[in-house]
Amino acid sequence: MTTGDSMHRGGSESTRGPSLGRTVSEGILGAHAGVDARAGDIVVCRADLILGTDGSTPMAIQYFEAMGGKAVPDPERVLLARDHYSPPTSPSTRRFHARMESFAAEYGVELLPVGGGISFQVAMETGRVIPGDLVVGADSHTVTCGAMGAFATGIGSADLAAALLTGKVWLKVPESMRVVLDGELPRGVGAKDVALEVVREVGSDGAAYRAIEFVGPAADALPLEERMVLSNMSAEMGAKAGIFPVESDPAAHFADELRVDCSALNPLVALPHQPANGVPVTDVVGTPIDWVFLGTCAGGRAHDFRDALEALDAGGGIAADVTMVVTPPSPRVRAALEADGTLRRLAAHGAVITETGCGPCCGTSDPVPPPDARIISTANRNFRARMGEASAAIHLASPATCAAAATAGRIVDPREVV
């Protein structure tokens, strides 16, 4: 079915016709709907992977039951995670988990345990996402799986219920924009800095309703783990997907293009309370910091924690009066950091190591920062009250910049520490 090409067609009319190229989104969504899909069309697609979290699945189960759901036809395509309330801290959140347990048992779908990691990161790490896949998840950062060349997008709880019931999802085929990453990353500048720069340039809603294709020499040079950071933060631009294409079709119609010269980049810090508030770290050196958070789906790969440890070692450890909280986002990352001693050494510096999962990223798991905390974090969002404390001020930066700040009790240029 392709209904309705009436909305958001804008200038894309000229892209109709089999002779012209396709964006990756048009290609993947068309293949999963069995039609020639073009930007603006509404298509119903069969999903390869359906993800749910403890933030969204309890409500989806209510919808599923209200829809008259009696079976999940594709249980092997479903993965549910207990990542946000890890561990649960209240009777109601324990009830949410119990609800998910009975649902998973009844319908034969996989439910990760508490400490089992963040839904889409675990999906990536366990090889469940391959290029060309359609991944839908009831978590806005499902877009992270776009790093693999998949079309991955966030859906709501009603969508999740319908996907559990039918294996399918309705989607509007988005227009696409290209982000061309030119040049080479200088020493001391990482994928998080590139992501903060792209978010700053595009703006909080700059990619709304659109898919991003990341291309160019600096994009090609990024390893998969680093690509995940850019795909992840596509959500902070309002994008529907953030894809590193296996092959980008130059004949496709792109609504917009942004070029970033990576060679000229500095480490960046996003100031409170918007991820798009990025400034070069050199502009904010000296800003007091008393709480540092390492982890999340944005800054949660094993090398991120190793980078941070390197900065801590080089900078002489965590400054007095600074709290550092470390949350591994998946069991695989935790195991790697245990095996090479990174976690033990971070703890020896005085860092608090929490249960695996989202940790304090969105205020759903302890510890919650204290009032007026001046935070620097490897996360992706710094909205007011994001971490459960409205008076806190959250800065976003790379693991190296965060750890360098921990050594000084204020923001410093990480290139002068490591």
Partner: protein, 172 residues
């Protein structure tokens, strides 16, 4: 299908995020929108919850429903008796969750609409028109794709699935 909705405009500004619609700290204890509606828009409009009346229409500027994708930010609006939101633009997730729950999202220039204006929304295959009875102006809104109209007409994805048992067959 053509249908009309009339109601009083309740004016909000730009970038009303889902946490302003309903604070996520309120949803840790319950997901029931009929309980949560007591705190509807408490951050931006402290007396909103006590002054809202059935058939009121929310009117906002850019990026309505940005921020977290929590679906209670849609169900709590419906629980207060509101059937439509008119805004200059919506976040993708709010737009989608609105359709899936039967809350009508209308995208148009809202500069002309003031607090308390009586407005009428006409929805049909030919498009969506917003009439401001207070000023006499007629605003053409972005039309909704037919499939989303079908979901809205059914009252959301739950009644749609109950009636149809699934998505359209030819889509596979």
């Amino acid at each position: 299908m053509t249908s009309e909705i009339r109601g009083r405009a309740r004016r909000l500004g730009e970038r009303v995020n889902t946490d302003y619609i309903i604070s996520s700290s309120r949803k840790k204890e319950t997901l029931d929108p009929h309980v949560l509606k007591r705190w509807l828009l408490e951050e931006v409009h402290p007396d909103f919850a006590t002054s809202v009346e059935p058939n009121d229409i929310l009117v906002a500027d850019e990026a309505f429903g940005c921020g977290s994708a929590m679906e209670v930010a849609v169900t709590v609006v419906l629980a207060a008796g509101i059937k439509a939101v008119v805004a200059k633009s919506f976040s993708r997730t709010y737009f989608r969750n609105a359709i899936n729950n039967g809350l009508i999202p209308v995208e148009c220039d809202t500069s002309d609409i003031g607090e308390g204006d009586l407005i009428a929304l006409r929805l049909g295959e030919g498009g969506v028109v917003v009439l401001n009875e207070a000023t006499g102006s007629k605003i053409q809104a972005r039309s909704l794709p037919p499939f989303t109209l079908e979901i809205l007409q059914a009252g959301g994805l739950v009644p749609y699935m109950r009636t149809h048992g699934g998505y359209p067959e030819e889509a596979t």
